[in-house]
Symmetry: C2
Subunit: 284 residues, 2 copies
């Protein structure tokens, strides 16, 4: 149990803002590490996935505010994959307070089951936060909110094409994603609850900010999926920062050669440079 030996209290919203100001960055680096896409020279290592993650983290830790391993990429490799994730989290947790960690798991089940998922991510792995799916409602989300200084990042409006299927449904209390964002504020405060808002819907950020002005948003979908950092910052920034902008493929797979970490760093710096004028306006 990784969590047991760590007494760091976790990051609150103020810590997160300070980190953003310190690094002048809103960048979250996605660690969707795929054995078929990483540079071939890493395959000689005992755990190529961990080695890749470690080098990506080392190359970007001064400019990335958050790291977000997507669980599916580890789960698909069985026990071996879980070991790579465990090692990655042990490594990331050495930077406790210097980088915010997100388990991109999109879990959610009936109460007693969600409690077990919360245990997995907050106790075993000691992540700062976990992404949660809203379909099953209050009792599927609340067990995650019971952990002090841990965060739930609830799916609001996702970045994928399929977001059009149900999330835009008119419910009589706004579109479904608006209803989710409103309703969830009855369950958790802006100090423990964030929302996933996809960068592919920049025009929605203004109205969503009206519904949830204080909350942080985790924003996937820039880079490979087409979202634009400038638009997101213009429409989504608040006084607390309020944005963690995720980039995965554009950074971690910037090069397939031995220079992958260096190239990842360059792409991360390019992204934060775009964010810098907006971050500049923030004060702790």
């Amino acid at each position: 149990m990784l969590g047991k030996c760590c007494y760091f209290r976790g990051m609150n919203r103020k810590d997160l803002l300070q980190l953003i100001i310190k690094k002048q960055s809103l960048l979250c680096v996605g660690l969707d590490t795929d054995i078929d896409l990483i540079p071939k020279h890493l395959l000689k290592y005992e755990d190529p996935i961990f080695e890749f993650n470690k080098q990506i983290i080392d190359a970007t830790i001064d400019t990335a505010v958050a790291y977000k391993p997507n669980l599916a990429f580890y789960e698909s490799r069985g026990i071996e994959g879980w070991k790579s994730l465990e090692k990655t989290m042990q490594y990331l947790n050495q930077f406790k307070g210097k980088a915010f960690t997100i388990a991109d798991a999109k879990r959610g089940d009936i109460g007693n089951t969600s409690k077990m998922y919360a245990k997995a991510f907050f106790e075993w792995m000691d992540f700062d936060s976990v992404t949660v799916a809203p379909y099953m409602g209050a009792d599927s989300v609340k067990p995650f909110l019971e952990y002090k200084d841990k965060w739930v990042i609830l799916l609001g409006l996702t970045s994928n094409a399929g977001s059009a299927d149900f999330q835009f449904s008119e419910t009589g209390e706004g579109k479904l994603y608006e209803k989710v964002i409103r309703k969830a504020q009855e369950w958790g405060t802006p100090d423990q609850l964030m929302f996933v808002i996809g960068a592919t819907h920049p025009e929605q950020f203004v109205s969503i900010r009206n519904i949830a002005p204080e909350h942080f948003y985790l924003v996937p979908g820039v880079g490979a999926q087409g979202g634009d950092i400038n638009q997101i910052c213009q429409n989504g920034l608040n006084n607390h920062g309020g944005l963690l902008i995720n980039s995965t493929r554009a950074i971690i797979y910037a090069s397939k050669g031995e220079d992958f970490a260096e190239k990842a760093r360059q792409c991360a710096l390019d992204a934060t440079q775009t964010m810098a004028p907006y971050v500049k306006s923030l004060t702790a």
Copy 2:
């Protein structure tokens, strides 16, 4: 990779009906195995969770049609938990064709990520089916549907109290759960797609059968959650059987003593006895 060594083609809808008729049962046994709730005498085994599951399976295999480990209970125990699940699936896969297996995972993510989850459950673990959450729409579900003779069990109307928060939203195309059940039929056929319909909503089964007459429903929520087997069978059975009725706590925790497996068997037999008059009407 467990799946690699197994060439059984998986179970189609006809196989499932034949199994139901052979066992005269619609029973699915939930394997939400919690180290704190299993009989103490099992703690002497190297892997108490697997030992518990194995004894439950041995005691119920002649009367249960399906087994449904809930992933959260394994995930919460870290690598050790995943090893218990792997062993449980290796054991269950010896009964290939004689019991239908369900990964109760409630996963769902953007396309390239759902693909990795599908790999985890269908290739690594070789489950027959996996539960999937609908919030993220088509591209989050379709990668699971690409496996021949494997099944997606999509959350429709769940059994928990939180189902009231979003699933009953009026969308202009019916309630959200009705829209989900209708829309998903554009993605998959009744030979590869089931729906989760909670036993705690017996009055909804009739109208849901109008929307999805041919599909199988996985029905959680009898026993501890209060659902009634008779009502479910009366309102939900179709010519193909069309129901897998799950019971977890009432069966696997029927006794905390050394007689737990025997008591589990008795409770499973009681449940199937209630189902028998309905199953009797089915023909292959």
